[in-house]
Amino acid sequence: MMRNTDQTKDKRDDGLPGVSKGVGGAGRVAGLLASGSAKDSKGTFSRLLKNVGPFKWFFITAIILTLLASGAQIFIPRLIGDIINIITSVFQKDIGLDWIAFKKVAIILVLLFIVQFSANYFSSVLLIRMTQKLIRSIRDQMQEKLNRLTLNYFDRSSTGDMISLLTNDLDNVSNTLQSGLTNSLTAIVILVGVAIMMFNIHVTLALLALIVVPVSYLLVKYLVKKAKPIFQRNANLTGHFNGQIEEIYNGEDIVKHYNLGNELKEEISALNERLYESEWKSSFVSFLTRPAGDLILNANYVLIAILGGKYVISGVLSLGAFQAFIRYTQMLRNPFTQVLGILNTIMSALASAERIFSFLDAEETVQTGMETIDIGKTTGEIEFNNVDFGYTDELLFKNVNLKVNPGEQLAIVGTTGAGKTTLVNLLMRFYEIEGGKIILDGHNTKRYHTDELRKAYSMVLQDTWLFSGTIRENIAYGATISSEKELCDVPLEEIKAAAKLAHADSFIECLPDGYDTMLTEGATNISQGERQLLTIARAMIKKAPIIILDEATSSVDTRTELFIQHAMKELTSNSTSFVIAHRLSTVHDADRIIVMDKGSIVEVGTHTELLDRGGRYAEMYTAGQL
């Protein structure tokens, strides 16, 4: 999908809820309340329909069945009324019961019962199947989208917000599709059907009965409007409270050791008291709409009973019709409240759908080339030729030139923000350069498909990302496997060999389950140093001609640190390597060192050369910044 920059910017604004949504849950809840309506409901709606497309027939059948069931529901009271009339005639006319007529109606009734039951059941089942399949397909689309997004997107969105799209927003859409829509449909059909039946029975009574509809609609609407600020306040307060609690629990040491306990208790207790007030008020108010509606409906019921009674006595109305009418007034009760909720439900689902769609529409990485690469023949010669790049409109890299020979080890030093990581991002083509060329073995890398280009690289980052799975799977993750194969198809010997080279084998074998040890999310069940060794083993198994290493600075004990050093050496020994260096030893051993500052390469040379030059490097060295 190609987009010019302006459009991209627009997407940024109306896309995901920003990171700065506030503290704790407060922002989120407030956000949900505030974002009750979609900006382009029509567009979103038609797009949602398009997604329903493949399941069109499911949907249409379900709707027909729903209509059928509601129809049956409307006729049943009337027919029961007929039977009652048959029975009443026994008393009024003093003749025997007309069993034939009774039987006739009863048979129709039984048929209607069966129709109603099966239509109800099958329409729900169809809707569930449809919705679940639809949701599954949207989920899959979202995940696939995830891996096609530009990294820019990740830089400006929070993980939580993306997850929330997958969970909250999608749930919202699925609930509406699964039950919300049919419930509303049933409600409307019944409302209309009942109205027709009522008019059919008696016009005056029907008018009297239906007058409640607009009256209680207005009343409830008024109440909901009045109540909204109360709900909102409660949601905000709840979010605030949860945020505070979370923070205090996280700051356990400071809270305990700086004597903050009592002060915080007072603070939380005051907040809790406010929360109590708002909580009971908001739930009271939310219940209030019901008695308000009930009052009108019930008062009306009494009026109908009296007036209807009068009509029966005067012979205008049969007793069966009267009974049926009473039933119909009762049937108005439920659909009525549902109709009131429909609009809100649909609007909020549309808002959710819009958020999901804007995620699905976000800018994707553009494939500039489709060529494949022959890894066996790649020597690992890399050249930056007048490279321009910036994360924003402002360029960070201007005319960067650099040539690295096959098998050379290049150390990159510089302060934070100097552009070290950017260099890596560009090599891996996580971001596309804006000017100039990056050349691999004499070919402009733009001509390759990114998947192909990345086969040439192996990478170890400071951030030791591992996924929840076994150690074996985590190492195998580095191996190049075809898409039909599983991670467990990577031979264990290969994994063990990589672990050995990475000096990770000794600690793995000490674990109770060895290579089959399950790592928890974030791999918190092994130490930071061990995590680093695993990421090195993972890079090792790839056997790529070019290695990118971001040296670990996190405090691990010296023994493990030595291991990591050894492992990194092993990893880089046969390849061209780029090492973001934090240790003097790495710099020392590197074939060449480049010093970066504010996006430019300011110095290039060996350790001794650079020291002798007495420039930026020498300055850093004496200041102990290495």
Binding site: Y121, N147, L275, F287, I313, D557, E561, Q565
Partner: protein, 573 residues
């Protein structure tokens, strides 16, 4: 447990139940009055009876609404009140726990318990008092009134009720395990998605997008299937109940017809019976779908209970005051983690006088940080004696200890709020001048001057708007602003570069020249200048002395030096 909390609100609850009963009774009365309208009014053509009963119905309606309002008022106060009490009891208990008592409760489980579990309990109370109670009353009431109308016909209703009830329960219990399968599949799916987001660079670098997609789709497929299965089962419930209700009505009509010929039933009675049958069955269905809340809430209740029954284990002992002296003393301390036999620290013996700077060095896992935990009295499970100024630490209250010693922890934690508020957690009445002074000491003064907002600079939650080094320095400043006799720096220079660390340490030395300072570190450079260095290895002090002395005669210290030299200078050969 819930009963215990409910006790405080017993008056409100009694009120709620009373008005809920009135509400239900008036609800039940309405069809009954309808029976009379038909039988005594309509059937005999007496309009005055119709109007009279109609008025009674209106009365019942009004009573119905009023009692509903009152009962809901009581109800919301009870549920919100119990939630409030639970929240505050949980919070106050948790915040008072020592590290030892807290044991293995993680932050996230504590938050879940204080927030989500309490919410679940409040839903349970609301459901029990409002729904379950009124549903039960309605069903019983409807059956009783049916019996009062006609015993024989009512017994049919009575037979069908348990059938529907059991059917509903069976369906629900069949679907319940499937719901947990859905939960698992969805958790797996979310986890994969989250990991895909956080590891996006690695996923891309190793070309694993397709693999991630495959794994994700397995989870979504499973979620989809489990969902379809569970919901298809549950969806049977409501149409089935409706079918039963309709059949029951037909049976009642048939029997009514037979009886009408015999003249043993009135039309009004028949209509009334139908109304009550619908009412009873409808409520049974609701009852069955609500009842699943009990197993779900049980988990929450148990988890809350677990917190509330965990009492603080550390006690303040009464001892005679020792000599007044300015020293922190460890006297042959052996430390064991609670419920563990393996000692983490052995024979720790040292003194820290005011005006001295001592350092502790050792590799990770050697027990350095545990020393500080003991000094802060996070744990009591040790042998030997730890004392401040001659007083045994176990005889001091938390507050007293906190007035003697300042701990600057390894993991930096800052509150969301302004930088001023954050530093005032160190010293409540600190003035802006004092705050600027310590910020300058940690080389952060310029940063906040330049940032424009001065001390109103807002620190976001988890301090995401500051770098690791900045957080660490603010944390140090917050410690320095406190006025205590001793200061413990727990490996809190690790994110600072050498030159900044040097400046910060110089400032600390100047400010704390007459205090006792203990610095814990992994790097030789950090501890080098201390008056005395303790080398800890495997929980034992294996060397004590100045940098020079240790360099000469302590093998572990020498190892540390060489390993760091190797890393810093010689490379890993």
């Amino acid at each position: 447990m819930i009963l215990q909390y409910a006790k405080k609100y017993s008056a409100l609850i009694v009120g709620q139940l009373f008005f809920a009963t009135v509400w239900m009774l008036s609800q039940l009365a309405i069809p009954r009055l309808m029976v009379d309208i038909i039988d005594y009014g309509i059937m005999v053509g007496d309009m005055s009876q119709v109007v009279q009963r109609g008025m009674l119905m209106l009365l019942a309606t009004i009573a119905n609404i009023v009692s509903l309002l009152i009962s809901i008022y009581f109800l919301t106060r009870v549920t919100a009140g119990i939630s409030r009490d639970l929240r505050s009891d949980l919070f106050e208990r948790i915040i008072d726990w020592s590290k030892q008592t807290r044991g293995s409760f993680s932050n996230s489980t504590l938050i879940t318990r204080t927030v989500n579990d309490v919410k679940q309990v409040s839903i349970l109370i609301d459901m029990s008092l409002r729904k379950i109670y009124t549903l039960t009353i309605t069903v019983i009431g409807a059956v009783i009134i049916s019996f009062s109308i006609d015993v024989k016909m009512a017994s049919i209703i009575l037979v069908i009720i348990p059938i529907i009830f059991i059917l509903a329960l069976r369906l629900t219990s069949k679907a319940l395990p499937k719901y947990s399968r859905i939960r698992e599949a969805i958790d797996r799916m979310n986890q994969r998605f989250r990991e895909n987001v956080t590891g996006i660079r690695v996923v891309k670098a190793f070309n694993k997008s397709d693999y991630e997609t495959k794994m994700f789709q397995e989870a979504t497929k499973e979620a989809c299937q489990a969902n379809v299965q569970a919901e298809s089962t549950m969806m049977l419930l409501s149409p089935l109940v409706l079918l039963f209700t309709n059949i029951l009505i037909l049976i009642l009509l048939y029997l009514g017809g037979v009886r009408a010929v015999l003249g043993t039933i009135t039309v009004g009675a028949l209509i009334g019976l139908i109304e009550y049958a619908i009412m009873a069955l409808n409520n049974i269905q609701q009852f069955a779908s609500i009842i699943t809340i009990f197993p779900r809430s049980k988990v929450s209740i148990d988890r809350i209970q677990e917190i509330l029954s965990t009492d603080e284990v550390l006690r303040i002992k009464e001892t005679t005051a020792g000599f007044k002296e300015n020293v922190l003393r460890f006297n042959d301390v052996d430390f064991y983690y609670p419920n563990s036999n393996a000692a983490v620290l052995h024979d720790i013996h040292f003194e820290l006088n005011k005006g001295e700077t001592k350092a502790v060095i050792g590799s990770t896992g050697s027990g350095k940080s545990t020393l500080i935990r003991l000094m802060m009295r996070d744990y009591d499970t040790y042998r030997g004696q730890i004392s401040y100024n001659g007083q045994d630490i176990t005889s001091l209250s938390k507050t007293e200890i906190n007035h003697i010693v300042t701990h600057i922890p390894q993991t930096t934690f800052l509150f969301s709020g302004t930088i001023r508020e954050n530093l005032q957690t160190g010293k409540k009445e600190a003035t802006d001048d004092e705050i600027w002074e310590v910020l300058n000491m940690v080389q952060m003064g310029d940063f906040f001057h330049q940032a424009g907002k001065g001390l109103d600079f807002y620190i976001a939650q988890n301090a995401v708007n500051l770098s690791g080094g900045q957080k660490q320095r603010i944390s140090i400043a917050r410690g320095l602003i406190r006025e205590t006799d001793f200061y413990l720096f727990d490996d809190c220079f690790s994110a600072l570069d050498y030159s900044t660390e040097k400046k910060v340490r110089q400032a600390i030395r100047k400010k704390l020249s007459d205090k006792g300072v203990l610095v814990i570190a992994q790097r030789v450079a950090t501890v080098k200048d201390a008056d005395e260095i303790l080398v800890i290895d495997n929980g034992k002090i294996v060397g004590k002395g100045s940098h020079r002395e240790l360099e000469e005669r302590c093998p572990v210290y020498q190892e540390i030096i060489t390993s760091q030299k190797k890393i810093d200078k010689g490379g890993a050969k």
